[in-house]
């Protein structure tokens, strides 16, 4: 297991060296999107419209932050469960997305997309919303403001702690339950 300090956006060479279990501290820009934003984003792509941010090399963080109290750039901001974005993720990886950040298992279609398009799935600690918020220095809504917590935000993160859950070589970090 290696530890990396990476700066967004990411390229193929960087993604290819990552292995399940590696620790990755992210800095730079990441974009938030969860259920409703993904639906709207993919509908926009269906109509031939440009996405609200450049997907090439991009990182999407599955989060719907709580409102920023006065003096804070953002409220609590831990990951939401990723499987709900599985229906949309392969298409976004095909368009250049390099990493998604969330919690919980991905389906086989997403894992295949990681291998095919050189992508990675990173996990952050679920329920550590206050702790993770301190690694986010700036946040601004860039699209779908009417979705409230589900709007797309551009975040600036500094040493945001993640683990490589699924790499582009078929690696899986989550434990397999010991059951008959």
């Amino acid at each position: 297991m290696a530890t990396y300090h990476l700066r967004a956006p990411l390229d193929d060479a960087t993604v290819e060296k990552l292995r399940s279990g590696d620790i990755v501290f992210l800095s730079g820009r990441v974009y938030t999107a969860r259920d409703a934003a993904h639906k709207r984003l993919v509908e926009a792509l269906d109509r031939g419209e440009a996405p609200p941010f450049d997907l090439r090399g991009a990182l999407i963080y599955y989060v719907g932050p709580s409102p920023a109290p006065p003096g804070f750039p953002i409220g609590a901001a831990g990951p939401t469960t990723s499987y709900r974005m599985d229906a949309y993720a392969p298409r976004l990886y095909a368009l250049g997305l390099k990493a998604s950040i969330g919690k919980g298992r991905r389906n086989e279609a997403v894992k295949a997309a990681l291998a095919r398009y050189k992508g990675v799935y990173l996990g952050a600690t679920g329920g550590a919303g206050a702790l993770l918020a301190r690694r986010i220095t700036e946040a601004r809504v860039i699209a779908y403001e009417d979705l409230g917590p589900e709007a797309i935000r551009e975040l600036t993160v500094r040493d945001f702690p993640t683990l490589v859950i699924n790499d582009c070589h078929g690696g899986e970090l989550y434990a397999t339950p010991r059951i008959d």
Binding site: P69, G127, G148
Partner: protein, 279 residues
């Protein structure tokens, strides 16, 4: 007859919604500390350490423990001799919840199931009432996050399935949920009753202190058996592997129809945000 001002209920509910979201309950903190001391997996220990640090950070900054501040679920025990003055009980609870979520910078997470439009104020809450003799009023609130709630299930077993069937369903449910509901989880299990009562009992069970013992020693033994089986899955904190998959299993049992064995499994995340107020 006891008269309680509606404004007092509203104020108490507003405060409890904020506190529930910012302060880890003492029994949950103690359980996480105990788990950290016992956990053998380094990755699991790191997750538990982060969760305790997160609780400290939330208390220091006033940020919520989790960005998912939950759908507000209330269990209200109302004495028959209690009368509210200046408003209805349900409205006072709703108004207090809406105010607490607004003033506490808590996330509003309630939407229309078809359009998915956010209602904008976290209303409506889900409120369950139990009418009892006397003049007590107790309001219990849970900030129930979507991730753990999504992993919950209700099933109608056959009486022939018995305890082995119950145990198999509960353990498999936690196994299939894996990392999704933010383990180490707390598992509320409703056994018996009807389709809806089993689910309500499973959720009520989640309010019990984590370190309590069921009043019936036979049921307490079943809780121990389930806890051991679930922790034997090796899912570990956040699904990264380890000894701590579950902090506690709580059963709530009710008589059921001759033909039925209703079973509900309500999964709760590691932060188990809840509070209680009495009047």
């Amino acid at each position: 007859m006891k008269t309680i001002p509606a404004s007092a209920v509203e104020n108490a509910v507003a405060a409890m919604c904020v506190t529930a979201n910012r302060e880890l309950p003492a029994d949950v903190r103690a359980a996480l500390e105990k788990a950290l001391a016992a956990e053998s997996a380094p990755a699991g220990r790191e997750v538990l350490r982060q969760l305790l640090e997160n609780a400290d950070m939330a208390r220091e900054t006033g940020l919520p423990l989790c960005q998912d501040c939950g759908l507000a679920v209330f269990f209200v025990t109302v004495g028959e001799d209690v009368r509210l003055e200046g408003g209805s009980l349900g409205q006072a609870i709703t108004d207090g919840m809406v105010r607490g979520y607004a003033e506490g910078s808590l996330r509003k997470s309630v939407c229309d199931p078809f359009t998915r439009h956010n209602t904008g104020n976290n209303a409506p809450a889900v409120i369950h009432y139990d009418l009892v003799p006397g003049d007590t009023l107790a309001i219990r609130m849970m900030a129930k996050g979507g991730g753990a709630e999504n992993m919950s299930r209700v099933t109608m077993l056959a009486p022939a399935d018995g305890w082995p069937g119950i145990k198999d369903f509960v353990v498999r449910r936690v196994a299939e949920a894996g990392p999704n509901p933010c383990p180490p989880v707390i598992v509320g299990v409703g056994i018996g009753g009807t389709f809806e009562l089993a689910a309500i009992n499973a959720k009520k069970a989640l309010f019990r202190p984590l370190d309590d013992r069921h009043a019936d020693p036979a049921v307490a033994a079943l809780e121990d058996e389930l806890l051991t089986a679930i922790n034997g899955l090796g899912i570990g904190p956040m699904g990264l592997g380890g000894d701590t998959t579950c902090l506690a299993v709580k059963l709530r049992v009710a008589p059921c129809h001759l033909a039925s064995l209703p079973l509900a499994v309500n999964i709760q995340c590691h932060s188990a945000r809840h509070r209680e107020v009495q009047f």
